[in-house]
């Protein structure tokens, strides 16, 4: 269950580099103004990225379009340490300004898997994604499939207001519900989540908001595609539901007869 709008939120910012984290912190900063209780930072040292850097003759394309030589493992280590340090400093500064608690963690692994696992107990998870241009985009929210207390819509409105951006709601399926008690934004309806993600891919967005608990994006794979398509920070409510889904598929201790295991 997500906290109500009156509650103070615990916000976790997750990124695989400082460039991504900075974009997410820009959003987190707006959210800490009045509705945050504590702020967390998680820098995930991505396995795939490290592995890719080890392949010979690869290049990195910088944000300005320059082709750069891939860093060596030791250089990569140094870069990540520097990013972690910068991330931590920015986190501390933002938390101090908002007078909230803060914590910082660094882990190895896949960004989404690690972040959703760590996000247990956090109210909101923000995935960072570096900005490749300066044009002010829209605020996109995925309309929950099941009724909520208006938290996602309220948060979306607040961010749209702070960022002076248009708010657009992506509704998926015939059962897309309208939020209650809030002025409803411009709404675009899609038949499937894939259609919505495809549309998101073509949209200039500043931030995307989803509620994993109430859909329509529900699993890690969809979340990964949303993050790739948005090319901007993604605010995720109900991130802990991903972990819960995994746990309910398991028996602790394991059943003697695996064939009799009940499914959730």
């Amino acid at each position: 269950m997500s906290p109500g709008p009156a509650s103070k939120m615990r916000i976790l910012v997750s990124a695989s580099s400082f460039a991504d984290a900075a974009a997410a912190m820009h959003i987190a900063q707006r959210m800490t103004e009045g509705i945050a209780r504590s702020l967390g930072g998680l820098l995930v040292d991505d396995d795939d990225t490290r592995a890719a850097c080890a392949i010979p003759n690869r290049r990195i394309v910088s944000a300005s379009g320059a082709l750069l030589i891939t860093p060596s493992p030791s250089q990569m280590h140094t870069l990540m340490n520097a990013d972690a340090n910068a991330f931590q400093q920015l986190l501390k500064k933002t938390a101090d300004l908002a007078a909230v608690d803060w914590s910082f963690e660094r882990q190895m692994g896949d960004l989404i898997d690690t972040a959703t696992r760590v996000a247990t107990g956090w109210d909101a998870l923000i995935f960072g994604y570096r900005s490749s241009h300066s044009f002010a985009g829209k605020v996109i929210m995925f309309d929950p499939l099941t009724p909520d207390d208006g938290q996602l819509l309220g948060l979306s409105h607040m961010l749209a207001s702070h960022l002076r951006a248009d708010l657009i709601a992506f509704g998926v399926g015939p059962l897309a519900v309208q939020a209650r008690g809030e002025e409803h934004p411009t709404k675009v309806l899609f038949d499937t989540v894939e259609d919505a993600i495809a549309a998101l891919d073509r949209t200039n967005a500043q931030v995307v908001l989803i509620d994993l608990f109430r859909g329509p994006v529900r699993d890690a794979e969809q979340l990964k595609r949303v993050l790739a398509a948005s090319r901007c920070p993604v605010v995720v409510l109900g991130a802990s539901s991903l972990v819960a889904t995994v746990e309910h598929k398991m028996h602790v201790p394991p059943p003697r007869d695996a064939g009799d295991a009940p499914s959730s």
């Binding site: 580099s17 795939d48 379009g65 082709l67 994604y129 002010a136």
Partner: protein
């Protein structure tokens, strides 16, 4: 050695008391008190100077600036002020000048000329414009119209950026490649089993497969780089569109407001041009006016009445009023007196503010100088102060030559400036400069500065005194009455005015003149007024004036009294009775500040056989000035041309001012020195009760000297302190009789026969009085009468010559004895 004797009946009586002090008679002034007089404005006896001032004030030529010369206290400042103020009313009120921002070249602010009194109006207009726009522009940019257009631009730019990236992402996905993010940027990796390929898996691939992957990755990398390189160009286009939108939106409101202001200045192309530049700048910097959109509108001074023009960010739209006639008390050209004519005070200055430890400036920090304030009128400066200020005189000349006021700081002139500065437009200068100084300064400027004569063609030379005619006396009395009225002094009786004018005569050093040192006379009047009021009177009497003069002398007389005391106590040896050979009392004047007094000096002469040399001991020890030395040499000329013309001058004489320990200058003692010399040669003693002053020429004529009153009074004071015997007095040149305006006590002593002032025309006349023996005139047989002074002198000189010849003819072992006395 002096010998005392009884009263000498052979001594001439001297001048009558009436001639010693030619007083102004109160009854001839024609009024009882100054209340009867109509106070007159203006000056007496300064027609020459007034003509020069009037000419300078009214002539159009730019180089007819004026130098006013005269002594302190002659009323130069008052005269210049009065005359210039009169002339200023006939000249048009000058224009206003402002500095405004130069939007193209900010470090060169523009100067704009405005009709008189219009500068504050333009400044207020610009302040209102800023205030209005600071309210209008945010409202405009908050409108739906602007927001819609802005969103459209943002959306278009966003889509243009997203479209190729989205297409690339799709292509990457289709080609089974993953887009990874690293701290340095994006990276592409082939996907195997839904995951980016691992290095080990890649190594195990066939070379052909690896090559295919590498080629694909390289192609996609190049493609991504090309897409991302488009970003800056897209952003530039986006920025230009936003700027154009802002400009288009701002132009609507800005044009209306600026045009409303420009309508008031349609006849002034400079202002119109400036306002057009303001319009362009505001339109292109409209965001400057958007910074206040989040301001609290609920305070005691809500946004609508906020004075935005006071905020530093709007300084470039300000108007710096350099000079304005808006608050002038009358329609006339300005007359400015600058008491501190430094470079900055004269030409203006550029001030700086400290920001973050650095000095910065802008056109609003340009401050006007005296030349700006006096532009179109008159600027009056004290010449000495002006020349004492570094670079001020040079800057003034440059301004007058170029007829423009350029503000260049001292640091810039010396290339010492280490911070940003401005080069404001020079403001055209049409000012008449009046320098007030003294004659010496004027002469130095003429001699040493070739540009001075070109720029200051007129010279107003204030007279020191005016002729003592009945008309002038009456006019000066009216000036005195006007001064008393202006200074709220007591009413003066005619006797008081006469006493004051007597003092004016004394100050003029000439009974036929009246001084024009009105400042000194004013000081006496104020002091006398104080004594009158202290005595509870409302009318100033002659006694008050005389008391003021006497007390002023007393206050300044400490040194004089010390010197008199030294004489009375015989520390300084001066005989005032008896006779002595080769010794005479000379007189000199000592000046201490503005106070002068006379003192006697003993002059002695000694003679002996020699080779015709007259030794001036003062000159030998370099205590004698050149004029004094000249006087002594004239004595030599006199002796050699009068006596023993047929024999060589075989005299060795020495002359000295006894107990003189300072410098001796002037030739007023040359007659006394000659008398001492004649006494020494003739052996006839000189009366020590007499003192002598006067210079002498080679023909033996006595010539006029200065300070005759002080000299007589100085000797009188010594005699009086020792007791007046009736045989005492002073011999003065007859040409100095007109200068006599002696103190009342001297006059009274003369009237009582206790002291005498004897005028002499020649050396012969003087030596007869001093020795009581006839001088003797050369007869037809070329000899002087026997027993006369001249005969004795000549005999002595001949004897010297004879002995000298004998000495020359005698064998070396037989030396002649020469007499010395």
């Amino acid at each position: 050695m002096a010998n005392t004797e009884k009263r000498d009946a052979s001594l001439p009586g001297g001048l009558s008391a009436a001639k010693l002090r030619l007083e102004i008679q109160p009854e001839l002034l024609g009024f009882e008190t100054t209340a009867d007089l109509k106070p007159v404005a203006g000056l007496v006896g300064q027609d020459r100077a007034i003509e020069a001032i009037r000419l300078s004030a009214s002539i159009g030529d730019k180089d007819f600036n004026l130098f006013v010369a005269g002594r302190e206290g002659m009323g130069r400042h008052t005269a210049v002020s009065t005359l210039l103020e009169q002339e200023a009313t006939r000249r048009p009120t000058p224009a206003d000048w402002v500095y405004v921002n130069n939007f193209d070249t900010p470090h060169k602010p523009n100067a704009i000329k405005l009709p008189a009194g219009q500068a504050p109006v333009l400044r207020k207009g610009m302040e209102d414009l800023v205030d209005d726009l600071a309210n209008d522009i945010p409202a405009l940019f908050d409108s739906d119209e602007y927001q819609t257009q802005r969103r459209a631009i943002e959306q278009e730019a966003g889509e243009r950026q997203e479209r190729p990236i989205a297409a690339f992402a799709e292509q990457v996905k289709e080609e089974n490649v993953a887009l990874l993010k690293t701290p340095m940027g994006f990276m592409l990796a082939a996907v195997v089993d839904g995951k980016p390929i691992k290095p080990d898996d890649y190594a195990e691939l066939e070379p052909a497969e690896r090559q295919a992957i590498d080629e694909k990755i390289e192609r996609l990398q190049t493609q991504l780089a090309a897409i991302l390189k488009e970003g800056p160009q897209l952003e530039k286009e986006h920025r230009q569109k936003v700027e154009k939108l802002h400009a288009d939106m701002a132009e609507r409101v800005v044009s209306v407001r600026v045009q409303a202001l420009a309508d008031d200045y349609t006849g002034n192309p400079e202002v119109t041009s400036y306002l057009a530049a303001v319009r362009r700048d505001i339109i292109s910097n409209a965001e400057l006016f958007l910074e206040n959109v989040d301001d609290d509108n609920n305070g005691p001074f809500p946004t609508a009445i906020h004075k935005y023009h006071r905020e530093p960010r709007f300084y470039q739209y300000g108007v710096n009023v350099m000079v304005s006639q808006a608050h002038a008390k009358r329609a006339a050209a300005p007359v400015i007196f600058e008491d501190k004519p430094s470079l900055n005070q004269l030409t203006g200055r550029i001030e700086h503010l400290s920001q973050m430890g650095t000095l910065v400036t802008n056109f609003t920090l340009i401050k006007p100088g005296a030349l700006h304030r006096a532009n179109g009128g008159y600027l009056v400066l004290d010449a000495r102060r002006l020349l004492a200020e570094p670079y001020a005189w040079d800057a003034l000349k440059r301004c007058l030559q170029s007829q423009s006021i350029a503000i260049i700081s001292l640091a810039d002139r010396l290339s010492l400036g280490s911070t940003i500065s401005l080069e404001p437009d020079p403001i055209p200068c049409d000012v008449r400069v009046v320098l007030i100084g003294d004659r010496r300064l004027h002469m130095l400027l003429v001699m040493l500065d070739p540009e001075f004569g070109t720029l200051f063609k007129l010279f107003a030379d204030f007279e020191d005194d005016l002729p003592r005619t009945a008309k002038n006396t009456r006019q000066l009395a009216e000036v005195v009455a006007a001064y008393a009225a202006r200074e709220n002094l007591c009413v003066m009786t005619a006797a008081a005015v006469a006493a004051l004018l007597d003092h004016a005569v004394r100050l003029a050093d000439d009974t036929r003149k009246l001084t024009l040192q009105l400042g000194v006379l004013g000081d006496i009047m104020r002091e006398a007024d104080h004594y009158a009021r202290q005595a509870g009177r409302t009318v100033m009497q002659a006694d008050d004036i005389n008391h003021a003069v006497e007390r002023a002398d007393y206050r300044a007389g400490r040194i004089k009294n010390r010197m008199q005391e030294a004489v009375v106590r015989k520390t300084v040896l001066i005989d005032t009775a008896g006779h002595a050979v080769g010794q005479v009392n000379g007189l000199s004047v000592i000046g201490i500040g503005t106070h002068r007094f006379g003192r006697p000096s003993r002059i002695t002469a000694r003679v002996r056989l020699g080779a015709g040399k007259l030794v001036d001991i003062e000159r030998e020890v370099e205590l004698g000035g050149p004029i004094h030395s000249k006087g002594v040499l004239i004595l030599s000329g006199y002796l050699s041309s009068i006596y023993a013309l047929d024999v060589p001058m075989s005299l060795h004489a020495s002359l000295v001012f006894e107990q003189s320990y300072g410098g001796v200058e002037g030739d007023s003692a040359s007659a006394a020195e000659l008398f001492a010399l004649l006494s020494a040669l003739s052996g006839i003693p000189i009366r020590q009760g007499l003192a002598v002053t006067g210079s002498v020429n080679q023909r033996g004529e006595i010539q006029a000297i200065g300070g005759v009153n002080e000299k007589i009074e100085g000797f009188f004071d010594i005699c009086k302190a020792r007791r007046l015997t009736g045989d005492q007095g002073v011999l003065i040149p007859v040409s100095n009789v007109d200068n006599l305006m002696l103190r009342q006590d001297v006059v009274e002593a003369a009237r009582a026969g206790k002291f005498r002032v004897i005028p002499i025309r020649s050396i012969d006349e003087g030596i007869e009085i001093l020795t009581g023996k006839p001088a003797g005139k050369r007869r037809r047989n070329t000899v002087f009468p026997t027993g006369t002074v001249n005969a004795l002198v000549e005999d002595r000189l001949r004897a010297f010559a004879q002995k000298r010849r004998q000495f020359a003819e005698a064998p070396p072992d037989k030396t002649a004895q020469g007499g010395a006395s």
